[in-house]
Symmetry: C2
Subunit: 417 residues, 2 copies
Amino acid sequence: MTSRAALIAIGSELLGPRRQDTNALWLTEQLESVGIEVVRKACVGDDEQEIALELSFALARAPLVLATGGLGPTGDDRTREAAARAFGLRLTRDELILQALRQRFARRGLEMPSVNEKQALVLEGSRVIENRRGSAPGVWLERDGALIVLLPGVPVEMREMFEHRVLPEAAQRFGAARRYRRILKIAAMGESAVEERVAPVYARWPEHSFTILSSVGEVQLHLSASGTEEEAHRTLDAQSRDFEEALPGLIFGRDEDTLEKAVGGLLRAGGKTLAVAESCTGGLVGGRVTEVPGSSDYFLGGLISYADFAKEKFLGVSRELLILHGAVSEEVSRAMAEGAARGFGADFGLAVTGIAGPGGGSAEKPVGTVWIALSQKGKETESRRLRLPGDRRSVRTWAGATALEMLRRRLAGAAHA
Amino acid sequence: MTSRAALIAIGSELLGPRRQDTNALWLTEQLESVGIEVVRKACVGDDEQEIALELSFALARAPLVLATGGLGPTGDDRTREAAARAFGLRLTRDELILQALRQRFARRGLEMPSVNEKQALVLEGSRVIENRRGSAPGVWLERDGALIVLLPGVPVEMREMFEHRVLPEAAQRFGAARRYRRILKIAAMGESAVEERVAPVYARWPEHSFTILSSVGEVQLHLSASGTEEEAHRTLDAQSRDFEEALPGLIFGRDEDTLEKAVGGLLRAGGKTLAVAESCTGGLVGGRVTEVPGSSDYFLGGLISYADFAKEKFLGVSRELLILHGAVSEEVSRAMAEGAARGFGADFGLAVTGIAGPGGGSAEKPVGTVWIALSQKGKETESRRLRLPGDRRSVRTWAGATALEMLRRRLAGAAHA
């Protein structure tokens, strides 16, 4: 049985078209870690009445209400006043807080501006939560077994205060079994193709909920389990094994892993080196491979052969091949991969050539046609044609992910999807 | 006098720690464009009671309520039922909608699953809004002069429906003076450096508010004005001129422009070509240049010279220079730029070599040290040293943006910042 929490983000800047509150995501993660579930969240502007109404409404929905923002010294900061109005409480000035605020400024050789006096106003019956990172104190207010906590909106101040001054007591009072999470990652497969394969796993764990999230070229499976740390990890391990079985060799990593890290780890472990030859991706594959610190140990470099003559000059692709088959063809992709490996003296050569669009397509080779080739010293070169949907960015990202995944599967000795 | 709107995002997945509703940002932009202000927004889960309470609460706060999500066919989708409960209305099955849904499936050669029948339930007294991109119809419901619109949660469906079926009438009924916006963009300058230069402009327009936003390697100035379209554009033009004067030659574009588009436009206009040589950026510069459709007209390609021998072999950088000065040095960056231009027969050669970290730094060349060089046929090669803060990703992104901006200023004949 989990407890319920409601979150409120206060600040007119959060109601515009460009900015989003991120405190709620962090708070949700913290609350979930102690088994408290967020059942609603809201954003309201710097308006005393709106804040007051939202505080009352939220308190009717959940026994734990956390509000962030509006505790600063300016006229815009109305959260304290709104709480006083919502719960019919008086605000009185606390001389000790005022003194502490003055000292805070004095330590930096400053006189406290008079506007800051407002931050010494204390809500009748509430407890003040010290702010170790800034001037706005927090507020701890209990009402009939429920708890309302007002926190500053500045993330670094809010986080320190919540983690050390709020979470331990809130966990004790409202917490249930902690939830542990794990993410499994799959590259270069569509969401529905993954879903089809894992459906039997969902069925095997009926009392668990899984989330599948996809971005261009990557699918993530989100798992969670509760109980003691040991129990939860045992469950997550068993579920992970089931997913591995449903997707043999196709899960490239978990949690913070990236595809380029996975590829890099395998190259390093095998003492192998890589060079790339990129046309339609224009450098994106090299860019991803070199995101990983220390990638110079296995990545030798590459050629961005955007113009056809560069494929001849730097990669040794013959003019005949280019004329006969065109730059976007199986033959040219293979020659590019082999040329990159040879030119850089690398164990592996990875090539991408395609039509990213929006122009340049034909009936025979429509936009989204991409050839990927992988050459390896002493082995036959492998190539694959893709027909990718979406816009230029999506075609390029998918093509890059598929190339890296092709190399990863070769390195891992995995079967093909 | 602007009108007030309240937004509700419905879906349990939006209450977790990893995912945020983005529909509200897009809707806010659309509403602001017709002078309607968002006064609150909330996220609630797939819970009929929670949705019903939020709908009633939102309607008490604003005469226009827009809810997204929960209109699909599954048991989780409870928005229709919640609205019926909130406003005491009956749900009845509409045979015409049912027929249209069946036809939609039939066109794709499928039989409609029985769960989809739910999507033909119509709220008493409401109007159905056709969904041209998916199966979930929207709902248009009027209550005592107020308007509640239920929209699908899938962005592409929601956007089409809102733009064509909701916004025109909502604007007429609730709209006020439309706000016009403009974004001015600056690359490879810090936020505070930009702010210092534009402070006098802020002072010249005291009744206007400007927003400055920064991401790695780019700063944006957000302007807005209201009134008739002509008046607003006159104001934005005058403000833009003031900012141009404060940042002479440093604003590379506006609104949807990107730095790579600006560079591409100038190369194309001058009939010039470009080749790159990248070490620490590993292909990111080529990747950005080729984001632009049609970039093959001016981008010939490049070399990712991650290993030192590749700088010798493909770019003709002499071994002496590499030994004497090291790969991250002014001399090597210049030789790389010249080698790229020569090798590809390009008008411009752009080179980046640096230490992106976290390893590889020294007292003399700490992490974040980057040399950028630009060679041009018939001109002296230009080079610049950067000392960039931040992590590997940030160093690489800044380095790439600075290289492109160096080329842009040369092409635009602009003064140096």
